[in-house]
Structures are given as structure tokens and as C-alpha cells.
């Protein structure tokens, strides 16, 4: 039996939350990178929430944010985290399990 990671379930929606702090180049790059990766891999079944900690610092503790930018995959479970400006797409795809198991990207 193959392990299900949620990505092969076409109906599964990805709920992603990206924590940034202000409009820094790193933050902007992360937002742009995330959008691009999601469009490429999860078109139509993802939701991105960008949280600016400069505006709402009280939210940092809840998701145990230390580094910025941090991407949290809230759904599907399990919870996964990724830090950095997401410039390495391959790592993001693998790290967040955005690609169904066994499926080869052309």
C-alpha cells in the first residue's frame, strides 16, 4: 500500500500560512516564490495566508515562529514548516510534500 501524503488526493486543499516581517526583500521574494510553486503544483486547490508579524506580533508565538520567513503547511496534516525565502523550489516541493508520490514532474 502506498503512503498517502494528501497530494495525490485531488480534492485535498492545501492551507498554507506564510509568516513575514514587513516588506523586506526576503519577504517579498518568499511570497512570490510560494505563489509560483503553488500555481505550478497545486493549481486551484491551495490557500495562502500571509501574516505580517510587524502588524500582528502576537501571532508569532502560536506557530512557534523564530525564523522569518516561515511557511507553515497547516492542511493537510501533518503540520510542516519551512524556513527561508523558498528560492529552492525543489526543496519546497519535497519538504512540503506538494507532489504525489511516484509522480514524476516532466
Amino acid at each position: 500500500m502506498t503512503e498517502s501524503n494528501g497530494a495525490d488526493d485531488e480534492s485535498m486543499e492545501f492551507n498554507l500560512r506564510l509568516y513575514v516581517a514587513g516588506q523586506t526583500p526576503k519577504s517579498l521574494a518568499a511570497i512570490a516564490n510560494l505563489k509560483r510553486i503553488c500555481e505550478d503544483n497545486l493549481a486551484g486547490r491551495y490557500k495562502i495566508e500571509v501574516i505580517d508579524l510587524v502588524v500582528t506580533p502576537q501571532l508569532a508565538a502560536g506557530d512557534q515562529i523564530v525564523a522569518i520567513p516561515t511557511l507553515v503547511r497547516r492542511l493537510p496534516p501533518p503540520l510542516k514548516r519551512m524556513i527561508g525565502d523558498l528560492s529552492n523550489s525543489e526543496k519546497v516541493i519535497v519538504g512540503l510534500d506538494l507532489r504525489p508520490i511516484g509522480k514524476i514532474v516532466s
Binding site: Y19, A21, T24, K26, A29, A30, N33, L53, V54, P57, Q58, A60, A61, Q64, I65, V66, A67, I68, P69, T70, L79, K80, R81, M82, I83, G84, D85, L86, S87, N88, K91, V92, G95, L96
Partner: protein, 555 residues
């Protein structure tokens, strides 16, 4: 300009840093596991909130909020209450490497945001980061980390908060990840050393930029009263002295000392073999002090308080009433429980809290270990007492045939009065004698005295001193009896001689009387004869005259 300082409220530490930690700057607190870093940080914050009106933030990288609160609850720190009253914020930062993937560049702005938010929430002046090095195991890119830490400490300074950053002790350097590079204003090292199977905690201020500070290693103590650091000796010997005397609790002993007791604030050593009643002398001293309404602290290292009380009852010293009145306090602990310095720190704290006017340490010989350490410990204890004007009585167990043992030798020069208790074994019994080995600043008896522990206390008796040497106990009594007998005999003899003389005198006088009577008789006879003769001669003449007349007249 004087460097502003923030008091930690930790007894002793503020003394040796001359005021506390540098205000508005980060201080690095490093030490191996189990040194008390977390507790130190927490004490700093709680004292700040409770004693100095400065709120704090505790950012924990290792322990959860709940665990932290539970761990320090035993010290009487009400963390939950402080958090509820918005005097303290505890933020637990959890970093699990396994849960974090890295992709591209990042910084630790999230941490800054959290910390900044926490500081602003309560208007914190004090911050503890415990221990920030956990980041190194949570995040892979140490070059980013180092740059961010440098930024963090700068940022803390800009915020104007007084921060403690804890770090694990590293090999060959102060911290495992070398963060002492970034925190350089004040570095405090905690140490937990095992020596002769006994642990001693020590603290050293490695560096304090812009301020003088004590440079030695200072023992510190963590127990249910919190942390206390013992600043070592004001060894200047500048303590004020007193001419007053303090009764010894043994009347006869008072008389042996020139001023009628020990000097107030002096140190007294009572040394002796097992069973010579050292503790009894200590207890008698304590009893007398409490009887005068003074406070006495009794450090028992070999017996439990109850045992001391029971044993002293048998010699007529009732300590229970003093205990109930709160004048007497026992502090009992096995010497092996902590290291010397730990004991010292504990004793120092007890003395500070109880403020006794005299202490009894029973016995100092219970401390085993390198003599230099015993020496240092006892010197400091004696100094602590002297600077406070506390009269301190130490007992010490000597070994048989040993003039002085290690602890005595090391402490003897510190002692103002030294009473030696000895056993004299002779004629199948053991007797106790004491003598004053020394007593500074007063004339005192040099006499060896025998003493007895009776059921109404300690009594000294005059020993037998004579041609036979010093005799004690039964031997003394026998000798005294012998002497009494001899005395009687002599008296009898004299009486006899007197009687004989009288008899002789009487006889002689009788003789004289007889002779005188004989003489008188003779005299009587003689006078009779003379009378007779004169009568006869008169009559003869008359006869002649008559005859001549008859023959015919005169021729």
C-alpha cells in the same frame, strides 16, 4: 561616569558585583548542565518583579512554561501569579530540527518580533534567554545564526533591557558555540565541581566591563530558600572587638577565665576525645545564652536536634523551652551532604536570617577533606562571626594520642580561647580533666581541673596536686582519704605526746612537792634543834654560875 547597575536580589552576588548586573546590557551566564542557570535567570526576574518593580520576560528554549513554573514553585516563586498580574511573560520557543526544512535565506526576525512583543506587553526591563544556544541545534545554518545573534544582542542593548543570556559550558571555551564573542559586557561562570564525592557550586565573575568586581570563585547555594552567593571574607581583620564577657554556662569555668567568661564576639574551640562532653559544654553555653534572652544558633553535624535535646536533658540542660521560645535554633546536616563551601554558604545564610548573638558548631572535626579547604572554610566562618560580633563556639573531636588533628591545627590560630578536654586513665577508670590551652587577652587559670557531668550540669572539682602528681577520680579520693588518715594519725600521736608530757610533768611536780615537804620537815627539825641548843647553852651557863657560887666565890 558610574556604570548603572541592576540588582539581582541574589544575596551576595550584588555585593561582589558592587551593585548588580550592568543595566541595559546583556550578561552571559554560562555553566554546565545542572549548574542552576535557569534558576538563576528566574530568580533575577522574580526578584525584579517582586522587589524592584521591574517586569521581566523569560524566553525559554528548553523548558515549557508549565515545567518552569513547577520547577521554581518550591522556592516560593509564584510564576503563574506574576504572569496573571502581567509582571512576567514566559515565552517557550520550541525548535525541532526534524520539523523544519530550510529553503533559501532567512533571518531570526520572528524571534525579535516575539521578544519585542513580550517586552512591550509588560514593559519589561529584564530579559532572560535560556538558553539561546538551543537555536544552534534547531537551525542548520550557523553563519546566519551567528550574524543574527550579534544583531539580537545589539538590539537588546537598544531596547535598554538588562538581559541574562544563559549558555552551556563548552570545551576549551566558555560556551559551546562561542557566543561569549557577542556578549562581552559581563560574563558570569557557574560551576558545579565534584571533589571527594561532594559537589560544590561555585560562581565566578569572569568579566565585568566598566566595573570593579570580586574576581575569586565564590561558593553559592541553591536550596529551598533560593540562591545565595557567599562573598568570601572581609579578611581585613578590621572587625570591632568587645571587652564584654559572655558566661560560659559553667560557673566554675567562668572563674577560671580572667574576665568571668569568654570575650563577646570571640571564637572558642573546645577540643577533646570522644565522650569528654564537648557537646555538653556547647549546650551549656547555648543554654546560658538563651537563659539571658539571647539568640543562639546550634549547628549540629553529628546528631539530630532531638538527640541533642534528649542527651542534654540527662545532664540537666533543658533546651526544649529555649526552642519553644524561639531563642534556640538547630540546623542539622551531615557534613558529607554538601561541600565545605556549601556548608559555609548555608551557615552564612542561616546566620543572616536568624541573627544569633552566639553560635555553636558541633563539631568541626566532622568535616573531612583536604586541610586547605577545611582551613579556608573555618577561617571564613570565624570571620563571618567576628565581623558580626557573634560569639562562636566550636567543638572538635581529637583522636587519642594526637596533640591536634587536622581541623584543629588549621583553626587553632583563629581561636581566641581554647579549652582542651582530656581523659586520664588510671587505676581502672577514666576521668575527665580540662585545662585552658589559651585564652587571648585575659589572665586565666593554668590549672588542670577535673570535671564531672552530673545530672545538674557540669561541675569542676579541685584536682589532687601533690607529690604523687595530678590525681583524679577515685585515685584522687583514695589519696585524699589516705592523707586524711595520715593526718589523723599524726594528730593522735601529738595528742599522745601531750598526754605523756602532762603525765611526766605531774609526776615531777609531785616529786618536787614531796621533796619540798621533806625539806620542810628537815628544816623544822633543824630549827627545833637550834632552839633546844640555845636553851641548853643558857641553862649550861646558869649551871656553871651556880656551881662557881657554890665553890666559893670568884677568883
Amino acid at each position: 561616569m558610574h556604570l548603572p547597575k541592576t540588582p539581582t536580589g541574589i544575596g551576595g552576588l550584588d555585593d561582589l558585583t558592587l551593585g548588580g548586573l550592568p543595566t541595559g546590557r546583556p550578561t552571559l551566564l554560562c555553566g554546565a548542565a545542572g549548574c542552576g542557570k535557569t534558576l538563576f535567570g528566574m530568580t533575577f526576574l522574580v526578584n525584579g518583579a517582586v522587589k524592584f518593580g521591574e517586569n521581566g520576560v523569560f524566553m525559554s528554549f528548553e523548558e515549557r512554561e508549565g515545567d518552569l513554573a513547577a520547577n521554581v514553585h518550591s522556592l516560593g516563586f509564584d510564576i503563574d501569579g506574576l504572569v496573571a498580574r502581567k509582571k512576567l511573560v514566559i515565552d517557550y520557543v520550541r525548535i525541532e530540527r526534524a520539523e523544519i526544512e530550510e529553503s533559501g535565506e532567512y533571518d531570526l526576525e520572528g524571534l525579535f518580533v516575539r521578544l519585542g512583543h513580550a517586552i512591550d506587553t509588560v514593559g519589561a526591563k529584564r530579559v532572560v534567554l535560556d538558553t539561546i544556544e538551543a537555536l544552534f541545534s534547531g537551525l542548520a545554518d550557523s553563519s546566519i545564526l551567528r550574524a543574527e545573534l550579534r544583531r539580537l544582542f545589539g538590539w537588546l542593548k537598544d531596547k535598554g533591557v538588562t538581559a541574562i543570556i544563559t549558555a552551556e559550558r563548552g570545551e576549551g571555551q566558555l560556551t559551546r558555540f562561542g557566543i561569549e564573542e557577542y556578549v562581552s559586557d559581563c560574563v558570569i561562570l557557574l560551576d558545579n565541581r565534584v571533589q571527594e564525592q561532594v559537589v560544590t557550586r561555585r560562581l565566578r565573575v569572569v568579566k565585568y566591563r566598566g566595573s570593579a568586581h570580586g574576581t575569586n570563585e565564590y561558593p553559592f547555594l541553591i536550596d529551598n530558600e533560593g540562591i545565595s552567593v557567599l562573598p568570601i571574607t572581609s579578611a581585613g581583620l578590621g572587625h570591632a572587638i568587645s571587652d564584654e564577657s559572655v558566661p560560659t554556662g559553667v560557673k566554675d569555668l567562668d572563674a577560671m577565665l580572667g574576665i568571668g567568661g569568654y570575650f563577646k564576639g570571640s571564637s572558642i574551640l573546645i577540643s577533646g576525645l570522644a565522650g569528654t562532653g564537648k557537646s555538653t559544654f556547647g549546650a551549656a553555653f547555648a543554654d546560658a545564652a538563651c537563659g539571658r534572652g539571647e539568640k543562639c544558633l546550634y549547628f549540629a553535624f553529628e546528631e539530630s536536634p532531638d538527640q541533642v535535646v534528649r542527651n542534654m536533658r540527662s545532664v540537666g540542660i533543658d533546651l526544649t523551652t529555649h526552642l519553644k521560645a524561639g531563642l534556640l535554633k538547630f540546623e542539622a546536616a551531615r557534613p558529607s551532604l554538601f561541600g565545605f563551601e556549601m556548608h559555609l554558604a548555608r551557615m552564612n545564610r542561616d546566620i543572616e536570617q536568624f541573627k544569633p548573638s552566639m553560635i555553636v558548631v558541633d563539631p568541626i572535626s566532622a568535616f573531612r577533606g583536604p586541610s586547605t579547604e577545611i582551613h579556608a572554610t573555618l577561617i571564613r566562618l570565624a570571620d563571618i562571626c567576628k565581623t558580626r560580633g557573634i560569639t562562636a563556639l566550636f567543638t572538635s573531636l581529637s583522636a587519642i594520642d594526637e596533640q591536634m588533628n587536622e581541623s584543629e591545627r588549621s583553626i587553632s590560630s583563629l581561636m581566641d580561647t581554647w579549652i582542651s578536654l582530656r581523659d586520664i586513665e588510671a587505676d581502672g577508670e577514666r576521668n575527665r580533666v580540662l585545662y585552658l590551652l589559651k585564652s587571648r587577652g585575659m589572665s586565666h587559670s593554668k590549672q588542670v581541673r577535673e570535671y564531672e557531668l552530673s545530672d545538674d550540669g557540669i561541675h569542676l572539682t579541685e584536682p589532687y596536686l601533690g607529690p604523687e602528681g595530678v590525681l583524679t577520680g577515685a585515685a584522687r579520693m583514695a589519696q585524699e582519704a589516705r592523707e586524711r588518715e595520715a593526718e589523723n594519725e599524726r594528730a593522735e600521736l601529738a595528742e599522745q605526746r601531750k598526754r605523756q608530757l602532762t603525765r611526766k610533768r605531774n609526776a615531777l611536780e609531785r616529786q618536787i612537792a614531796e621533796m619540798r615537804a621533806a625539806l620542810d620537815a628537815e628544816e623544822d627539825e633543824a630549827s627545833k634543834l637550834v632552839d633546844h641548843q640555845s636553851v641548853r647553852s643558857t641553862s649550861t651557863a646558869a649551871d656553871r654560875a651556880a656551881m662557881a657560887k657554890k665553890r666559893g666565890g670568884s677568883r
